[in-house]
């Protein structure tokens, strides 16, 4: 009885989580010009629209430029932060760690407003650099968390062993610490890219018309003309994110197999 209830509840929760996604996806293949059911016939015309219409094509390119830029920037900064936070002698390490994770919990609207004011001051408003920086701020916590977890998993004895075998500190870092942290860095980067990809709120504040990202374009097109291109874009985003998630999971699994000691 209890077991049956558990199953029903589980199914309901999963349905609650994925029904919205399932609801939108078939509409990507509609032949009608309306984003509504029923679907009269199936076609790929909206995908064609996605890659041919200038606004959509540009937004995809923008998403890639900004996503990659933000990923690189946040991965470098986040990894350095995680390495610094690892030093046990660091004063106020707890406080610093909280600060690094703050963008995760601060409301995006607040961050967006602040970021806009700051970027205008710096003369970076409505520029790629500005948007990349803004996204990177949002992405850094994911990298910090992920790299910190990887570093935490490294037995300090392993680094000591390297030292006692004649490796100076820089070599220990290059040959031992960094290679062992790489899976964390990669999965942090994947998270960062995914975060940048679907970020809307901050983009609304800091991006000019030239930096419209795919997510931002979906947001405005659903208010202006509700065309099924939005559904096609959604499908693209979901497939993209799923691929990234699968990549991250794969890397983690492979790493675990390679480093787990029985």
């Amino acid at each position: 009885m209890l077991r049956a209830l558990q199953i029903v509840f589980g199914v309901l929760v999963v349905a609650f989580l994925i029904l919205p996604i399932i609801a939108i996806l078939p509409l990507a293949f509609t032949s009608s010009v309306f984003l509504t059911y029923p679907i009269p016939a199936y076609s790929l015309r909206w995908f064609e629209e996605l890659v041919t219409a200038d606004v959509w094509r540009l937004s995809i390119v923008n998403s890639l430029i900004i996503g990659i830029g933000a990923t690189v920037l946040s991965t470098v900064l986040g990894t350095l932060a995680a390495l610094g936070l690892r030093r046990s002698a660091l004063p106020l390490a707890g406080l610093l760690r909280t600060l690094f994770l703050l963008p995760m919990v601060v409301p995006a609207v607040v961050l967006g407003v602040g970021m806009q004011i700051l970027l205008v001051r710096l003369g970076l408003a409505s520029s790629y650099t500005g948007v990349i920086i803004a996204h990177a701020v949002l992405c850094v916590p994911f990298v910090v968390v992920s790299v910190s977890a990887a570093l935490q998993g490294i037995d300090p004895a392993i680094e000591r062993a390297a030292m006692s075998l004649g490796a100076p500190p820089v070599t220990v870092f290059r040959r031992v610490t960094l290679p062992l942290a790489v899976p964390g860095v990669v999965s942090g980067a994947v998270f960062a890219f995914a975060t940048s990809l679907d970020e809307v709120v901050i983009t609304l504040f800091v991006a000019g018309p030239n930096q419209r990202t795919l997510a931002r374009q979906m947001f405005s097109s659903i208010r202006e003309n509700i065309s099924p291109t939005v559904a096609a874009a959604a499908l693209l985003l979901i497939v993209g994110t799923l691929c990234l998630a699968a990549l991250a999971a794969l890397l983690r699994r492979r790493e675990k197999r390679a480093t787990a000691l029985p």
Binding site: D155, R160, M163, S164, R175, T259
Partner: protein, 351 residues
């Protein structure tokens, strides 16, 4: 011969906690010294200071006459074997073993040759392309050992290297390490809290207690002539018997225990209250009164141990544990007997 490794007045404190207390220790070249002691007695800390991972709060450490107290670990030329092996998980067995040679900038071809030879020596040649995670515990242990040996360091440090192995494998590795020590003339400092391991492997054992060395001696001396009560109780099993010295001279003394006057080994002053340490297996049990060093006893309990019997003997208020070989016959509970021992088998400890 001057000491190869020397600790001079070394103290290590963590905050208010004194972990190593004004300690002196000298180790000769080629010696196998075990650091033996209960948990928290400072063995690992001492080893960490020798390896350079911890700085002494005060005092100096010398290697071959030169002070190394402030030398960083990578310049100390000490191979270290950790309890959990600390192999590099992302490198193959061969890469692990090659690592210290690469650090010494040994030419590539020679590295390959030496790694191969070293791995063959511990019968791991066939596994050289495996990752550590694909090895058994014993194999990982051998890789860690090989990695620490391959660059021919001056000193090998081992912190409970066999702690994670099962009994059979542990005994096998004990012999293997002992053999390597003899063959290669290595200087080894070996931390353990397994006393039988220390007794079988070491040239000398340093018994640690609360940051101090209670006694450093050959295994035989530590076992047969413990200097303190702590050492007597920590190593092996012993009977501690309280008594008063009635006569003493040189290395012999007569101690009164109850009504009996027992002659024992040890340098003490007459009139002192002392403890006697008497190992269970040194107690002889007989049915006829022996001439000297005898106590009349009653068998209070007899415990079967397979190859021997453990007897609990009562003599007045005194209780002794003795070990009786199966050949020595049966000693049913309640039997009246006489327990005796040779003077050199009983050591006087200051109370």
């Amino acid at each position: 011969m001057g000491a190869f490794i020397a600790f001079k007045n070394v103290t290590k404190k963590f905050g208010a906690l004194t972990v190593v207390d004004n300690l002196d220790l000298e180790i000769a070249k080629g010696e196998f010294v075990s650091l033996l002691g209960p948990s928290g007695s400072g063995k690992t800390t001492l080893l960490m200071m020798l390896a350079g991972f911890e700085r002494p709060t005060s005092g100096e450490i010398f290697l071959d006459g030169k002070p190394i107290t402030h030398l960083p670990p990578h310049r100390r030329q000490m191979g270290m074997v950790f309890q959990n092996y600390a192999l590099f998980p992302h490198m193959t067995v061969a890469e692990n073993v090659a690592f210290p040679l690469e650090m010494q900038r040994v030419p590539r071809a020679e590295i390959v040759r030496r790694v191969e030879r070293a791995l063959d020596m511990v019968r791991l040649g066939a596994l050289k392309d495996r990752k550590p995670s694909q090895l058994s515990g014993g194999q990982q242990q051998r890789v860690a050992l090989t990695r620490a040996l391959v660059f021919e360091p001056d000193v090998i440090l081992m912190d409970e290297p066999l702690g994670a192995l099962d009994k059979q494998l542990r005994e096998h590795m004990q012999l293997e390490i002992r053999d390597l020590h003899r063959r290669l003339g290595l200087t080894i400092v070996f931390v353990t809290h397994d006393q039988s391991e220390a007794l079988t492997m070491s040239d000398r054992i340093a018994v640690f207690n609360a940051g101090k060395i209670e006694q450093i001696d050959t295994p035989q001396m530590v076992y047969d002539r413990p200097r303190t009560r702590f050492v007597a109780e920590f190593i092996g099993e012993t009977n501690l018997v309280a008594g008063k010295v009635v006569d003493a001279g040189g290395e012999r003394a007569v101690v009164r225990v109850g009504d009996a006057a027992l002659s024992v080994c040890g340098n003490v002053q007459p009139g002192r209250d002392v403890s006697l340490s008497l190992r269970p297996e040194r107690i002889r049990l007989g049915s006829t009164p022996a001439a000297a060093n005898a106590l009349p006893v009653t068998v209070a309990d007899c415990i079967y141990h397979g190859d021997h019997m453990r007897l609990v003997l009562k003599s007045g208020s005194l209780e002794l544990v003795a070990r009786a070989e199966r050949l020595a016959g049966d000693w049913p509970v309640g039997t009246e007997a006489v327990a005796s021992f040779d003077p050199q088998d009983c050591t006087v400890l200051a109370s």
